[in-house]
């Protein structure tokens, strides 16, 4: 079979099992778009801004575990997609991003729509390629998928000059079914000696805690994690990225930890004697002040990426390997050994934890006439029976969604944790709904964040995506306002966001259903009505208390035991 470069790209994607490509055309990729036009299998989703193509592919990957694929043109197409690439990079999301480039003979001449895409994206990709010869194209695409999806996943950019896709030049097509790279060999198994050593320490633990993160979700290791935690009877806290791996309603779950983590989770971290970290990276939003982090603990760390280990916090027992396999091996060692966890000590530990829990650190005023954002998220949970895919933007609403939706399954909570990209939620939901057409997909967003990719409402109409947008409208960049209230004496510098479009009308003008709710008593009805429209996008503008803050809160750089608690919470 002889194919042109454009045709090779399309064929490679099909051979790779790709079903959806999120993109936007332009000069440098016209040959590729022409090849797309001539086939039916590969579905192209036309976004309204390349940033959204990145986030949509990213959301697709988070919801399915399969790599998301993006196609954009050179120059501005490539620069627009960078935010999407960086967002995926920070959260280790597998993605393959194809960018057009000016023809090879004019590279370096400041040609029309030329940018050094490989240079610009280098610091925020797992790897990138510039294809210089047509003969290398298929191999490069194979390598890109291999690199993106193995080891610690991440985005890979392939920059493709226009002459490479010339329809007039055809070569024999062959898609390699295997890749071998001498320079890239991700670890496939954790060291059994280390695993045994870790289990021995766990059996001696008196105040143990599991601290797990996005790596568990990425490696589909929810089942072995849950089994191990329940077998040992240890408490577990999860990071913002790890939510849903161990069920949010599970009895051993302490809630999220870190800056807006629960009192019980953060106190347990502070007092623990054995910390077992799995697929988590000791991010500063989690550790607070590293000098005060888990002061008494022996730390076990399971991670696929050796560079994550002892990066921010010194680890005592490192285990490098895929978390799923390591957790399974650990469970086996536990089950086959004759030692049991220290029941007496654990009982005492749980008693202490229950005291912390009794403080009810996330309580809020449920009698308020103004709708509380927490209440809106709880209502969303109720109406969707806790079974929706929830994407989010960045701010208070994101934290409320994380705290109050209580995700019971992995891959249901989809948010930009590492980069914290406002504008992520709606396009990510496009990717999720594309992957799961029948599922309830909700975007929990803020009036500031939603405006950063609002144009994607048109994409939702074009592809009949019945997404539900739950806007927690507080008239502020709430999270910014909260910091200004706490740390800048309430000087609300540029954080007001009262000037917004009429979201109901705006949504209607895009061809969707817009609704607005202002009173607590109307919330349930409105939410139910929104979700009753099974095949329509509904934008529900929920007017919430503008003064509400996210609690608990650890100020940046403070220790886990130094939390701001909600007014009315009392230490017991």
């Amino acid at each position: 079979m002889e194919l042109s470069g454009g045709e090779i790209i399309v064929q490679c994607l099909r051979d790779e099992g790709v079903e959806h490509v999120f993109g936007y055309p332009g000069g440098a990729v016209l040959h590729i778009y022409d090849a797309l036009f001539k086939q039916k299998e590969l579905k192209h989703i036309l976004v309204r801004h390349e940033q959204a193509a990145g986030h949509a592919a990213d959301g697709y990957a988070r919801a399915t575990g399969k790599p998301g694929v993006v196609l954009v043109t050179s120059g501005p197409g490539a620069t627009n997609v960078v935010t999407g690439v960086a967002t995926a990079f920070m959260d280790s999301i597998p993605m393959v991003v194809l960018t057009g480039q000016v023809p090879t003979p004019v590279i370096g001449s400041d040609a029309f729509q030329e940018v050094d895409t490989v240079g610009i994206t280098r610091p925020c990709v797992k790897h990138n390629f510039l294809v210089k010869r047509l003969e290398d194209l298929a191999d490069t695409i194979k390598k890109a998928f291999y690199i993106a999806t193995t080891g610690r996943p991440g985005p890979v950019v392939i920059d493709i000059p226009k002459d490479i896709t010339d329809p007039g030049i055809k070569i024999p097509y062959h898609y390699p079914n295997k890749v071998k790279m001498r320079s890239y060999n991700p670890v496939v198994k954790g060291h059994l000696g280390q695993i045994k050593k870790a289990v021995k320490i766990l059996m001696e633990a008196e105040r143990p805690v599991f601290y797990t993160g996005g790596g568990v979700v990425l490696d589909d290791a929810a089942k072995p994690l849950t089994d191990l935690v329940d077998t040992l009877g240890f408490p577990i806290t999860q990071t913002l990225m790890g939510l849903g791996a161990y069920p949010g309603s599970g009895k051993n779950f302490l809630g999220m930890l870190g800056m807006h983590g629960t009192y019980e989770a953060n106190m347990a971290m502070h007092e623990t004697d054995v910390l077992i970290a799995v697929g988590a990276r000791f991010d500063d939003r989690v550790t607070g002040h590293v000098k005060q982090f888990c002061p008494d603990a022996t730390i076990i760390h399971v991670d696929i990426d050796p560079s994550s280990i002892s990066k921010n916090v010194r680890v005592d027992v490192p285990i490098v390997g895929p978390v799923k396999q390591v957790l399974k091996d650990m469970l086996k060692v536990v089950n086959e050994g004759d030692k049991k966890p220290k029941q007496q000590a654990l009982k005492k530990w749980w008693k202490q934890i229950d005291k912390w829990r009794a403080m009810d650190c996330m309580k809020y005023d449920k009698k308020s006439e103004l709708i509380k954002p927490q209440q809106a998220v709880e209502m969303l949970h109720k109406v969707t029976k806790g079974d929706a895919y929830v994407t989010s933007d960045v701010g208070q609403h994101q934290m409320f969604a994380a705290q109050f939706y209580r995700f019971d399954k992995p891959r249901r909570w989809i948010n930009s944790g590492g980069l914290g990209t406002m504008g992520f939620g709606l396009p990510a939901a496009i990717g999720v709904q594309m992957a799961h057409p029948k599922a309830d997909v909700a975007v929990v967003t803020g009036e500031s964040s939603i405006q950063m990719c609002i144009q994607e409402l048109a994409t939702c109409l074009q592809y009949d995506l019945p997404i539900k947008i739950i806007l927690l409208n507080n008239g502020y960049m709430g999270m910014v306002r909260q910091w200004q209230e706490f740390f800048y004496d309430s000087r609300y510098s540029q954080s007001g966001m009262s000037v917004t479009p009429d979201f109901v009308k705006l949504t209607e003008s895009y061809g969707h259903i817009g609704m607005r709710v202002e009173k607590s008593e109307d919330l349930e009805g409105a939410m139910k009505e929104a979700f009753s429209h099974k095949d329509r996008l509904v934008f529900l503008d929920v007017v919430v208390d503008p003064a509400e803050n996210v609690y608990p809160m650890i100020a940046a750089g403070k220790g886990h035991h130094e939390m701001y608690l909600s007014p009315g919470s009392e230490l017991v």
Binding site: R122, K126, H127, L130, S183, P306, K311
Partner: protein, 163 residues
């Protein structure tokens, strides 16, 4: 502490940029860096001199290993190794100074490779510390220009860093 890290990497365009980028992006020190192809044209060998605490050096080697183009790497400072750097140094050399400079070059086992009425250009090879010592030994006012390659290094003994 000063470390010499020797890296075997794919001889791809951009590979050097990835290493350089890593150091700036993560704020690591980089004292010198040399690269050239090896007997296998698909590979290049890079020698990198850096400094930092043990934790930082551990991160540096891990992060370098993570780069897809890096095939293998070794921290030469962890074992017996030989380090060599070449320096070309142009010195003002007039009448009375000429004899003295020549003597100094001999002591350091260097070579004078270019001569004019008023100058000598000296080639000197050795560990970085030896080159530093030479620079210390000549009168500062006589130095016209110094060009150094940066160290390259190799492990002692019969074993080599190869695939």
């Amino acid at each position: 502490m000063r470390h010499i890290i020797s890296i075997l990497m794919e001889n791809e365009s951009g590979a050097l940029a990835r290493v350089a980028n890593l150091f700036t992006a993560r704020g690591y020190n980089i004292e010198s860096l040399t690269v050239a192809p090896t007997e296998d044209l698909s590979l290049s060998r890079m020698t990198l001199v850096t400094s930092g605490s043990d934790e930082i050096i551990e991160q540096i080697t891990k992060q370098l290993n993570k780069l897809v183009d890096v095939v293998k790497l070794v921290d030469l400072t962890e074992g017996g190794h030989i380090e060599r750097e070449m320096m070309l140094i142009k010195l003002r050399a007039e009448r009375t100074q000429r004899e003295e400079i020549k003597r100094l070059v001999d002591i350091f086992r260097g070579k004078i490779i270019d001569v004019t009425d008023t100058s000598y250009t000296v080639e000197l090879t050795g560990a970085a510390s030896k080159l530093n010592a030479f620079i210390e030994a000549v009168n500062e006012e006589l130095i016209i220009e110094v060009v150094r390659t940066g160290p390259s290094g190799i492990g002692r003994g019969p074993k080599g860093l190869s695939l």
